[in-house]
């Protein structure tokens, strides 16, 4: 199976953080993070709720300014290579009642490169079709985004990221709340992207998926607890360091099973929520 760390000729890291602290107001979400993510990585960011997984992704996406330290993304401060970065937010932050079709959502991935005042051309339409085919959603191109299931919505947002043809994917819980088939297929797509030299950083609550389908893992809990190959996700000491008292390891022949008591908070399908204020008006 997968899980082996691929040999990637990384001339320089896709992401480099040094002494980074991030805060919302006075509440520190991440402290003193130093982290290198080589190009071609398929990195799972794991940790309990509120540990700073989303904060780490937002720092890399340039959506949050660090209060101290330096962030370097694709060889510059976040934002300098924004067209080469595709960020997919958590499903809860999206207004699914919004009047857009699947095809329109994926086309948004093309907008930043197109530039102001230019209409999408043949190449853009071809990229949209190709991205939708890759995630198995080509037949749904004209459906309203809200008419899709949770798994289909994640597929469409991954297609939008693919259509942007980025160097770096920043995915906030891309496989949360999706069925096993969808999870496998989405991970196949991401793995193929990393084989093509792209870098994938994704937060997840699913430790089994992290251990089996990702190549590297970063343990986060207000700081970086550890980084390394994905197999170490199943290391008991690391898990209890990361999750504190919230991890339960059941004994068994293969070294035990994991139970996390906060792993499913994000699974319910969100209704229409008013996130407008959080995101600014």
């Amino acid at each position: 199976m997968t899980g082996a760390t691929p040999v990637v000729a990384a001339a320089w890291p896709a992401v480099h953080l040094e002494g980074v602290t991030a805060a919302y107001g006075t509440r520190v979400a991440l402290a003193d993070v130093t982290l290198d993510i080589p190009r071609g990585s398929l990195l799972a960011v794991i940790g309990p709720n509120g540990a700073g997984k989303s904060t780490l992704l937002k720092l890399l996406a340039g959506l949050l300014e660090p209060s101290t330290g330096t962030v370097d993304v694709l060889g510059g401060p976040p934002g300098t290579h924004a067209h080469d970065v595709a960020y997919v937010p958590q499903a809860e932050t999206v207004d699914w009642d919004f009047p857009v079709t699947v095809g329109e959502v994926v086309m948004m991935g093309r907008y930043p490169r197109l530039g102001i005042g230019r209409r999408p051309g043949r190449e853009d339409r071809a990229a949209v079709v190709s991205a939708l085919e890759t995630v198995g959603m080509a037949a749904e191109v004209d459906r309203q985004i809200g008419a899709l299931s949770g798994g289909q919505r994640r597929r469409v947002f991954l297609a939008r990221a693919l259509a942007a043809d980025p160097e770096l994917y920043l995915l906030d819980e891309p496989v949360t709340g999706v069925d096993a088939t969808t999870q496998e297929e989405l991970m196949d797509v991401l793995e193929a992207e990393t084989r093509a030299g792209k870098t994938v950083v994704a937060s997840t609550h699913d430790l089994i998926c992290a251990a089996q389908r990702f190549h590297q893992a970063a343990f986060v809990n207000g700081r970086i607890v550890a980084t390394g190959p994905a197999e170490m996700v199943l290391d008991r000491d690391l898990l209890s360091d990361t999750y504190g008292g919230h991890v339960l390891i059941l004994p068994g022949d293969d070294g035990g099973r994991l139970v996390l008591d906060d792993a499913h908070h994000h699974d319910q399908a969100p209704g229409r929520e008013s996130h407008h204020h959080e995101a600014g008006v």
Binding site: G25, K58, A61, G62, L63, G79, A82, H83, V85, A86, Y87, V88, P89, T93, V94, D95, F98, P99, V100, T101, E104, V105, M108, G109, Y111, P112, L114, I116, G117, Q144, F157, R160, A164, L170, S274, H276, H277, A279, G280, V281
Partner: protein
């Protein structure tokens, strides 16, 4: 008077021609901006910005400046201040807006009460009087409305992305902060342009109602704007004719027609309509009727 005369006779009056043009222009601009207002949940902000224009109008009146200038400075300024507070503030957002707009409106009323001479102009701004619009005002409405529409058309891709998914759009390099401030500034301009037609109190209806009605009828972003603009045009024309023949307040008549269209869409529309909801169990109901 024949049927054609019913339509054409009012047009022999210059005030009716100007009023119709102004009402249609304002209706279209409000409907297009209203699409963003409805999708982003900015109805309360729209109401706040229109009320905040009042002290600006009063101050301009006292200083003898063009009223538009005062209203524009106050409403665009308030819109941008609200944007700033929403990005930086620690208080609950709607609380801050509520405090700001009530305070601004109170300031307007207090200043208004100090004026001793003729204030009919200002009262017109409170309740609106589209039939009293001058040729110069009409030109201003047309010019500012055209600017708002042009900006929305040129930036529609970016505005769509930034409205639907501000985080994804910002991460991929779109200037989401700038777009949000610009949208608020356009909202401020739209409101100032609309105040003379329907008045401070009812501008929010012009913004929200056609877009909300369109939302009941279509589910694509650009169609939403177009349908909202068509509905606003229908409401502006029929509302003004009703007000002409029945001698009713013009702005309120337009808003009432818009509200009527909304209620029609709500009860008859294909998506949320009560009739659509009833369509399925109707077979069972028919069965019961034949049994009874």
């Amino acid at each position: 008077m024949d049927a054609i005369g019913v339509v054409t006779d009012p047009l022999s009056y210059g005030f009716m021609q100007r009023g119709l043009l102004a009402a249609v222009l304002v209706g279209i601009v409000c409907a297009v901006m209203g699409t963003f207002v409805v999708l982003k949940g900015l109805a309360f902000i729209g109401d706040a910005v229109s009320h905040a224009a009042f002290p600006g109008l009063v101050i301009a009146f006292i200083l003898g400046l063009p009223l538009y200038i005062g209203g524009a400075v106050a409403s665009v300024g308030t819109a941008l201040a609200i944007g700033f507070v929403s990005r930086r503030g620690r208080l609950r957002f709607d609380t801050t807006v509520g405090v700001l707009f009530a305070g601004m409106f109170a300031l307007g009323i207090v200043l208004f009460s100090t004026i001793k001479n003729y204030v009919a102009d200002l009262l017109g701004y409170l309740l609106g009087n589209v039939l009293g619009i001058s040729t110069g005002d009409l030109l201003q409405v047309a010019l500012l409305g055209a600017v708002v529409l042009a900006v929305v058309v040129v930036l529609r891709k970016e505005l769509l992305y930034a409205t639907f998914d501000p985080l994804g759009a910002a991460a991929s390099g779109l200037p989401v902060g700038f777009l949000e401030y610009m949208l608020l500034a356009l909202l401020g301009v739209t409101i100032v342009v609309s105040i003379q037609a329907v008045g401070i109190v009812m501008v929010v209806a012009m913004l929200v109602t056609p877009a909300a009605t369109a939302q009941l009828l279509v589910s694509r972003f650009e169609r939403l704007m177009i349908v909202a603009a068509v509905l606003a045009t229908i409401a502006a024309v029929s509302g003004l004719y009703v007000s002409f023949y029945l001698n009713l307040a013009s702005g309120a008549s337009i808003v009432l027609v818009e509200t009527l269209l909304f209620l029609l869409a709500l009860t008859l529309g294909p998506r949320t309509g009560l009739l659509a909801a009833r369509a399925r169990p109707e077979g069972g109901g028919g069965g019961r009727a034949s049994a009874g």
